[in-house]
Assembly symmetry: C3
Amino acid sequence: MHITASVFINDDESGLHNDFERWLEELAPEKLYSRYQHNGYEDNGDAHLKRTIMGREVTIAITNNDFDSGPWKQIFCKKKDGKGDRRMLVWDDWRIITLSW
Amino acid sequence: MHITASVFINDDESGLHNDFERWLEELAPEKLYSRYQHNGYEDNGDAHLKRTIMGREVTIAITNNDFDSGPWKQIFCKKKDGKGDRRMLVWDDWRIITLSW
Amino acid sequence: MHITASVFINDDESGLHNDFERWLEELAPEKLYSRYQHNGYEDNGDAHLKRTIMGREVTIAITNNDFDSGPWKQIFCKKKDGKGDRRMLVWDDWRIITLSW
């Protein structure tokens, strides 16, 4: 579970993804780095805040052995900075699943 | 699960609901529609962002066969635009329940 | 489950915690109290909004009978105003746990 990565569900549409990127940058700008007290050894203070907006986990139904996210939606796992390895947790009783990063 | 609908828990108080509406409109204004790249075939780019703030699912205790959300709180399911049908998932083992839209 | 308290996971680093406090105050200022319709009998309208950003529940893995939140991360339970008692729900099958306040 990498703390600057988010797991979220939304439409798989590139325009929307660009909207999210711009919006998150407005709400929690990456720079100036000195804006964040967290940015000493690291420089990813903004990524912690952006991830908080986007969320860390989702719950999703399983229908016919597949994620039931609807016709347009996908589960996304986006990392807000370039650091670290990733691990995904899956809680699965074949009815509803919880994913976190 | 409609992607512009949110499921959340908060006080059932009309002033607070108005505060949420105003606040979400400040954080992700509906207009100008051209502000969002997502707004081509659709015009609900803001609703995707607002829903991200409000959340998509909740976990709640069951006590004496009823939701245990406390004396003032309610579970709300609000749609951020006027589109589509709704479906609710319930994961229930009579201890804690997860709801998503 | 107190509605102005949040349960979230993030790094246990004081600079980051200060960044969160400042950021939440920017997104949902405490004052002027009259800014929020909710602030009549209560004055914690901002706390309801801040809590919405920070989240109300987390899902976390259990490894070797302990929370597996990684080397730096902790689960935090922060109350956004000074009101009320606290109760924590735990859904635990010793694989993944969901906490809410």
